[in-house]
């Protein structure tokens, strides 16, 4: 909203400089975002909040200024007062008074359409408006001065030279001033002549009935329309104008005659017109909203901590046009009834009055204070463990990603979702948006992986080959009936390329499935969960044979593995990409593993390594569980050493080396004692699994 400093001074006696004015307006909530010189004038760029349509004019801003310095608005008497009233009451007929609360019309005859004088052009240009012709410029000028949108018709183009205000009929059309033909319906208010719509009420006039160079007789409309209806019409027609902007926020219904008179006076003066008949149809009289306050000073103190005497409160409120009702004392001596002025649509409750008092008394006068203590601070239950998990992943070289919660529908198919997220019995399992601002992205993600893989691709496009990313965020799934969708927090990883060293460009070992698994184990371990395991399992988006379920205890919480060729091809990945996704909310919901101290060994142990040649389908897990099956108490630990495949072994074989540790709590074991035990374990494992020891 642009406001001219010189124009303001026409309306108010003020000694405030340009800078002081900007500063004071900002202080009371009319944020001056910039001051721009224009000739000998200065223009304020004011950012108005949506509750203050009364300040969408110079008069409105002047009113705020008047409160600040307790100065006085200039009272402009109009010479048009006393000009003839219409004899013919049929000039204006309001059929739908629920949508048109007041309508005034002024006839002006012998008007000469032409250019506006320079002072008028300058004023309009200062606030960024373009001059068109004298009558159009005057209506525009008065709107910016007094806040009242108005419209001028060519009287001679109105059938029967009269106005009917009614709902449009379905199927009626009108070509508006912007030369677009618009379809009206019976929920829109139209200004009509005897036959047809000549304007969309409060939004835009019709082209056919508008002012042209040949116009001589003008009908000037100044009216008040129902706010919600103008808003709805404007949205429906996708047509927002300066007029609709003001009408839908609310104009001053009591200001119509002043505005009409001001415009009439200017048209007579600048376009040679003669003021003729005037009619004011006012079916829905303004009643000020009443706000009750037992003690405005106390209310101000209670809500803001400011000490403002009742006298000062009332001075501020009065200056803003909020007056104490004459009936106040009669109706209830215990409280005061304030009446809101016709230009304020936002004063309804005592708190609104408090805000008016506080902003003019000054927010800067409110003393800083901390609230009294109450209770102890607390994080979200899983936050601190989540933090450890984040730090752990970062230490392992993972960068934290955040991606959009909505993804492209095309991503749905290939991904195996974490267990129990989606209700398979539903016809519509997912949450979908009606539309999006990013093309195609209407699915509320049921998996984080598409976002992460998109990020992997973006980084690869920037010549980065070695990438480790993780994200913690919510995914969504539909629930049956009318229930709100399910929201669940997941952890996802994506990694590809080789190991990186800080500060060194040469890469190390290529990453593989065990890096993904290791990261999950380390991350969960850092959050106090050590009982993480993996079990071979075929997830749809993972490559067969390199795909596993992630378990905590015996609960499956997600999947880890190498991205399948099929999915990799969708992203044009030409190197192996490993991903993992798991239900972190469930993982962290439990208490975490208890730690129980085990006494330190007093005697040294004996370690024996043994390598088995196994078919590839035989897993380490099977070997280790066979070892414990044997049940040798002195065998304290069986651990993985290495795996080997290649030269010296058949194609379908690999060699797995494990280390068995023998130890007694009573004595130092000898080789002779250990040997038969070790042999017994090795024999049983080879027999049970049908495998052989590698020699």
């Amino acid at each position: 909203m642009n406001i001219s400093y010189n124009w303001l001074k026409d309306l108010i006696d003020t000694r405030l400089s340009v800078e002081e004015t900007a500063c004071e307006l900002t202080r009371v909530g009319l944020a001056v975002e910039g001051v721009h010189p224009h000739g000998d004038d200065h223009v304020f760029d004011i950012d108005l909040t949506s509750n203050r349509p009364d300040c969408l004019s110079h008069l409105g801003v002047a009113r705020e200024l008047a409160v600040i310095r307790n100065s006085k608005l200039k009272n402009k008497n109009s010479e048009t007062e006393g000009k003839p009233k219409a004899e013919n009451q049929t000039l204006v007929n309001i059929e739908d008074a629920d949508l048109c609360h007041r309508f005034t019309a002024r006839i002006l005859r012998n008007v000469k359409i032409g250019q506006s004088p320079q002072w008028l052009v300058d004023r309009l240009e200062a606030i960024g408006e373009r001059a068109i012709n004298n009558v159009a410029d005057i209506t525009n000028y008065v709107m910016h001065e007094l806040g009242q949108p108005m419209h001028s018709f060519d009287l001679d183009k109105l059938t029967e030279n009269r106005i009917v205000v009614r709902r449009a009929k379905n199927g009626e059309t009108i070509t508006t001033l912007d030369e677009v033909e618009r379809k009206l319906d019976d929920r829109m208010l139209a200004i009509c002549d005897a036959k047809k719509p000549v304007a969309v009420a409060g939004v835009m006039g019709g082209l056919a009935s508008g002012i042209t160079e040949t116009t001589t007789n003008v009908l000037l409309e100044v009216a008040y329309f129902d706010r919600a209806n103008i808003r709805a019409t404007s949205r429906k027609l996708n047509l927002a104008t300066e007029a609709s902007y003001r009408f839908e926020r609310g104009v001053d219904i009591e200001n119509l005659i002043r505005a009409s008179n001001r415009a009439t006076e200017l048209i007579c003066e600048l376009a040679g017109g003669e003021a003729a008949e005037f009619i004011d149809v006012y079916p829905t009289k303004f009643t000020p909203s009443e706000v009750e306050s037992a003690d405005i000073s106390a209310a101000t103190r209670r809500l803001t901590g400011l000490d403002v005497s009742t006298e000062d409160c009332n001075r501020i409120l009065n200056a803003l046009g909020i007056v104490v009702s004459d009936e106040s004392a009669i109706r209830d001596p215990q409280s005061t009834i304030y009446l809101s002025p016709s230009w304020r649509h936002d004063i309804a409750i005592e708190e609104d009055l408090v805000e008016e008092v506080a902003r003019h008394a000054g927010y800067e006068k409110i003393a800083d204070e901390l609230p009294p203590a109450f209770g102890a601070g607390e994080y979200q239950p899983t936050e601190l463990r989540e933090r450890r998990l984040r730090y752990c992943l970062a230490a392992l070289g993972f960068d934290e990603a955040l991606s959009y919660s909505f993804i492209d529908l095309r991503h749905d198919g290939p991904f195996q979702l974490v267990p129990h997220l989606v209700d398979g019995t539903l016809e519509e399992k997912f949450v979908t948006l009606r539309d999006s601002v990013i093309e195609g992205a209407v699915r509320m993600r049921p998996t984080i992986l598409p976002g992460l893989l998109e990020a992997v691709r973006l980084n690869m496009n920037h010549q980065r080959r070695d990438i480790k990313l993780f994200e913690i965020g919510k995914v969504f799934a539909a629930v049956g009936g009318d229930g709100l969708p399910k929201e669940q927090k997941l952890l996802a990883l994506a990694l590809t390329g080789s190991e990186l060293q800080e500060g060194r460009s040469m890469t190390g070992r290529p990453l593989d499935l065990y890096d993904a698994k290791g990261a999950i184990e380390a991350a969960l371990g850092s959050a106090g969960i050590a009982s993480v395991s993996c079990r071979a399992s075929e997830a749809t988006h993972l490559r067969l044979g390199q795909s596993a379920e992630i378990l905590i205890g015996d609960q499956v919480l997600g999947y880890v593995g190498r991205l399948s060729e099929d999915v990799a091809a969708r992203y044009k990945f030409r190197q192996a990409v490993f991903v993992a996704e798991l239900d972190i909310a469930t993982a962290l919901a439990g208490p975490g593993d208890l730690i129980a101290y085990k006494p330190l060994a007093k005697f040294p142990g004996v370690a024996r390594d043994v390598s088995f040649v196994v078919p590839r389908r035989v897993e380490l897990g099977a070997i280790l569980s066979e070892v414990s099956e044997v049940g040798i108490d002195l065998c304290r630990k069986a651990s993985f050493v290495d795996v080997y495949e290649g030269k010296g072994l058949a194609e379908n074989e690999r060699s797995v080396t494990i280390r068995l540790e023998y130890r007694s709590d009573e004595r130092t074991l000898t080789e002779e004692e250990v040997e038969p035990l070790h042999q017994m374990i090795v024999d049983q494992v080879t027999n049970k699994l049908g495998i052989v020891v590698r020699v």
Partner: protein, 363 residues
Amino acid sequence: MSEEERQIQGIREAFEQEFERFAALNLDGMALSDAEARLQELRELRIRQTGKRSAIAGAMKLIGRVAPHERSAFGQLVQSVEKLIAGTIDAAEILLSDHISAARTELERLDVTLPGRRPRTGHLHPITILRQRIEDIFVAMGYAIEDDREIETDYYNFDALNIPEAHPARESQDTFYTTKGFALRSQTSTVQIRAMERRGVPIRILAPGRVFRRDTPDMTHTPMFHQLEGLCVDKGITMGHLKGTVTEWLKRMYGPDTVTRFRPSYFPFTEPSAEFDFSCFKCAGTGVFESERCRPCKGSGWIELGGSGMVHPNVLRSCGVDPTVYSGFAFGFGLERMTALMYNIDDIRHMFENDVRFLEQFR
């Protein structure tokens, strides 16, 4: 000169002759391996010249042949030659050894400016870093961190927040809706309602989270972003407490000299309402940094951060809280904006592109 003395003289001359190539040895720039070979030769020479079967050792036997009155003088002569030989070799050996150890040090000298050996460290997202810092400050001030639904009903997203049907914020061009008619929350204020319903009052909570608005992505807008919402409701809470709390938080965040400014504003869910600014962390509110216009605050000295106010009585009522007994304040702001200001990020779309070149700049 006696025969014996001549013999000693001969030994000495023979030594000097053999030692000559060591005497003339030029160590400058001599390679380590050469020096080591020379040292080896020198040690062999020492054995030859000073060992049990050396000429000088044999000369000691001559003492018996010398006339008794000359023995003492002769003995001294032999000893002096012996000393000369040993001393000369010692000196040469020290020189060589020093050279060798210096050369070896040089050979093993490391470039300590090479990077330490460690795996590349990953980085937390700047939004996470900031969120955690702010959470820590408010937990220390007795606030509970709340997290809640991202998909909401219109009731929680609008009605309960006193945003009426006709309010511009409610128009569907600003809000995402699911096909079933649920809204993606357009502000974290929804958590005010959920938390008050769940916890009752008095209450002090801080709710960080994702919010969604139908903005086409550009330098300063993304359709998804993060807000942080604070709420404090109790008996006797005033705007003074709001100002005190926000100021305390920003002082802990940006240093004790930080000052705040509250300006009247309008939000449907607060009355009175205020926007809050704080003195620029870069130029300390002067508007000038390194004699140029300060960037984060655009030279104004103030950074506009968020919205705040006293919780609207309708909001309290919709949570079953009596506004004549309780009052409260709420404030909220966007984390992306704060992050962008702090790190001088010119395009907030970077926050969700996950370009590692972006992510690795934060820790």
